[in-house]
């Protein structure tokens, strides 16, 4: 089996702030991390590899520093990686990004046919959840989103059985291979690298593909190929909530507990 996992390098969302004057994201000094959902997607692929044996190729698009996320993937068990890196790709929206990634997967397929492409449910910087389905559509793969786990692969029928996360439940589906699967974080716990594997990944060379390495229609890439335009970014206005300080001395704990319970149920939180 050949599995491809799409991994994106994103700014650590817990540390990104919006410049209140310019309305842009302040990215300076913000550390970059591997998109957490993508790492759960990788873990799902790794579990398939553990069980059935497979080759895992990690695919990322981004600036040269994005080799870090590929190395991290290799440290926990991915076999190979490709970074798609070219100024022509800069400024791509989800439409252009899914185009570029799908073209790269087509190139990979030429030498090594792909059975499953994994991606995170969404990236934590854009929150669109569009790139995974976009790739599936362009490649003509079947698509399983919000996947919680893979229950079985029937290689004879070329069918995969998977569980999807629904609101308040779970759906079991079958899909034809090749398939693209997007993964939620409840699916698994991402493993840690052993020291020898970590060191091996630090020393590994990541293959970088620029626009010359695979077939591309350049007008569909980067800013030019991106119909989405960000007009304005602003932090949501803070909710007008005044905290109430209650004194245990005067009212007693029971009364405070009752007041809190009432307020919580009134607000529909529970």
């Amino acid at each position: 089996m050949h599995l491809v996992v799409c991994v994106k390098q994103v700014p650590d969302a817990t540390e990104v702030k919006v410049d209140p004057v310019k309305g842009t994201l302040v990215r300076q000094g913000v550390p970059s991390i591997a998109n957490p959902y993508d790492m759960h997607a990788l873990e799902m692929a790794l579990q398939l590899k553990d069980e059935h044996g497979a080759k895992i190729t990690v695919l990322s698009m981004g600036p040269p520093q994005a080799t870090d996320v590929i190395k991290r993937s290799i440290s926990i068990g991915a076999d190979d990686g490709r970074l798609l890196c070219d100024v022509a790709f800069a400024g791509s929206d989800t439409l252009a990004t899914s185009y570029i990634l799908s073209q790269a997967i087509k190139e990979i397929e030429k030498t090594d046919p792909v059975d499953i492409v994994f991606a995170g449910k969404m990236a934590i910087d854009g929150d669109t959840a569009q790139v995974g389905p976009g790739i599936a559509t362009r490649l003509g793969y079947s698509l399983v989103t919000y996947c919680l786990g893979i229950d079985g692969i029937d290689t004879g029928r070329s069918v995969i059985k998977a569980r999807r996360q629904l609101e308040g439940g779970c759906e079991v589906v079958e899909a034809d291979l090749p398939v693209l699967i997007t993964v939620v974080k409840e699916a698994n716990e991402v493993r840690y690298a052993s020291l020898p594997d970590l060191i091996k990944s630090i020393r590994s060379d990541v293959t970088v593909w620029n626009k010359e390495f695979f077939e591309l229609d350049i007008p569909q890439c980067g800013l030019k190929g991106s119909p989405t335009q960000v007009k304005k970014i602003f932090p949501p206005p803070p909710k007008d909530v005044t905290p109430e300080i209650m004194n245990t001395g005067e009212t007693g704990l029971d009364e405070i507990a009752n007041t809190v319970a009432e307020a919580v149920s009134k607000a529909g939180i529970l």
């Binding site: 000094g29 550390p31 840690y192 052993s194 020291l195 020898p196 970590l198 060191i199 630090i202 020393r203």
Partner: protein, 430 residues
């Protein structure tokens, strides 16, 4: 793990990186372990790096290293409730090569420094905690990390894990630090527009200022500081742990005291706090330095308690100690002897360097403050009171004002007491 290294460095701060850079550059197979996501991600210090220590390794490093401001002014403030007496020295020459010191943000600086060590050939392993030193027949032969298959063996381990060095404590090289040997420091990074900083502190271009402030610690042994960065100031306060626990003061209240002091408040007005951090600081200086060299083991930087608080030195001592330990490892490799004897050139070089000489010089200084509480409790306000009395022009004849000032002094201290305290103070740095 099967692979062996010549040198294993624990901790990618200034001391560890200086050691790793030195050994890797000399061709020794070097591995550095850092528990943070990347070097600098977990580190904290006040904010100043004196240039000399680094320029010995990287002449003209200021042309490429991520630095904040070149410090051209050193200002000392003695604060009382609403007054300040200031001593200050400023020179434009500190704003030019070879510079005196820089304010530095560690998240950027340590990363740059680590890049240098990696370029020189060192292997940097992040997000990996060294849990234990591996011993055989009393000799350190490797480290045990928290990862699977995580034991690594090497000829020498250089411990650069910072002030709370658990590895060396576990070996019994030193005891748990006592409350009068370490301080607790609290720091905020407050962002302000570049132009505001230039105006408020009378600075031009990339010039910066270091301020050291006494009198805001409620009489506890300690002091405060303020350093200017490009578009932020680092402001903080550090006090001896023993005092803080005896007085039951929350360190957070100390920084609030400082920020709300009428002399300090306008300097940071309008700024927003970007970072809040707290850390232990080695304070006892020379007296608590552990044995630096053991069989297969050397200790550098804060892990060896190398700081001089009164001059704000720490990072430079760390860099120099790391470099000297690195050089000793190179020598030991040439001679094929990594025993304490084979590594002894580290200790000898340290004794010869400004590091140990200065630490010796100031060895009684913190103790002097600690045992003479009046210095921080009484003197700032007394001094401010006297200066105010003498300076105020209020119709009284000067002779009368001087008599009054004398009376103010005498009310608190006899001349004999004053002379005694001054003598002890002088002795503590001689």
């Amino acid at each position: 793990m099967k692979e062996r290294f010549d040198v294993i460095v624990v901790g990618a701060g200034p001391a560890g990186l200086a050691a790793a850079y030195t050994t890797a550059k000399a061709g020794l197979k070097t591995i550095i372990f850092e528990r943070g996501e990347f070097p600098g991600s977990k580190n904290m210090f006040g904010g100043v790096l004196f240039a000399h220590s680094l320029s010995e390794m990287f002449p003209d490093f200021w042309e490429e290293a991520p630095l904040e401001r070149a410090l051209v002014e050193e200002r000392y403030w003695l604060l009382s409730e609403d007054s300040a007496t200031t001593f200050s020295f400023k020179t434009k020459s500190f704003g030019q090569p070879p510079y005196n010191g820089f304010s530095v943000l560690r998240a950027k600086f340590d990363r740059w420094f680590a890049g240098k060590a990696v370029e020189a050939g060192a292997l940097l392993v992040n997000e990996t905690l060294v849990e234990k030193l591996i011993q055989k027949d009393g000799k350190t032969i490797g480290v045990q990390t928290g990862r699977e298959d995580g034991d690594v063996y090497g000829d020498v381990v250089i411990v650069a894990e910072g002030v709370n060095s658990l590895l060396t404590k576990e070996l019994g090289i030193h005891e748990e630090w006592r409350g009068n040997e370490v301080g607790v420091g609290v720091k905020e990074l407050i962002s302000l527009p570049k132009e505001t900083i230039q105006e408020r502190f009378n600075l031009e271009g990339n010039e910066g200022i270091a301020m050291r402030i006494l009198g805001t610690t409620r009489g506890m042994t300690g002091g405060a500081f303020l350093y200017t960065n490009k578009a932020s100031v680092s402001i903080g306060v550090a006090c001896m742990v023993e005092d803080v626990s005896n007085e039951c003061v929350c360190p957070n209240d100390l920084i609030d005291d400082l920020k709300n002091h009428p002399m300090v408040k306008p300097l940071i007005a309008g700024g927003s706090t970007k970072e809040y951090s707290a850390h232990m600081i080695p304070e006892a200086g020379f007296r608590s330095i552990p044995e630096l060299v053991h069989d297969g083991l050397m200790i550098v930087g804060d892990a060896a308690m190398l700081t001089i608080l009164i001059t704000g030195e720490g990072a430079n001592l760390a860099v120099t100690s790391g470099r000297l330990a690195g050089e000793a490892a190179v020598k030991a490799k040439e001679n094929g002897d990594f025993s304490a004897n084979g590594l002894s050139s580290y200790k000898e070089a340290m004794d010869e360097s400004y590091v140990i000489k200065d630490l010796k010089q100031f060895k009684d200084f913190a103790g002097y403050f600690h045992s003479n509480r009046d210095i921080l409790n009484l003197y700032p306000s007394l001094l401010n009171g006297i200066v105010k009395q003498v300076i105020a022009t209020d119709g009284l004849p000067r002779s009368e004002k001087i008599e009054r000032a004398k009376a103010m002094l005498k009310e608190k201290k006899s001349y004999w007491q004053l002379m005694k305290e001054a003598w002890h103070g002088w002795r503590s740095i001689r």
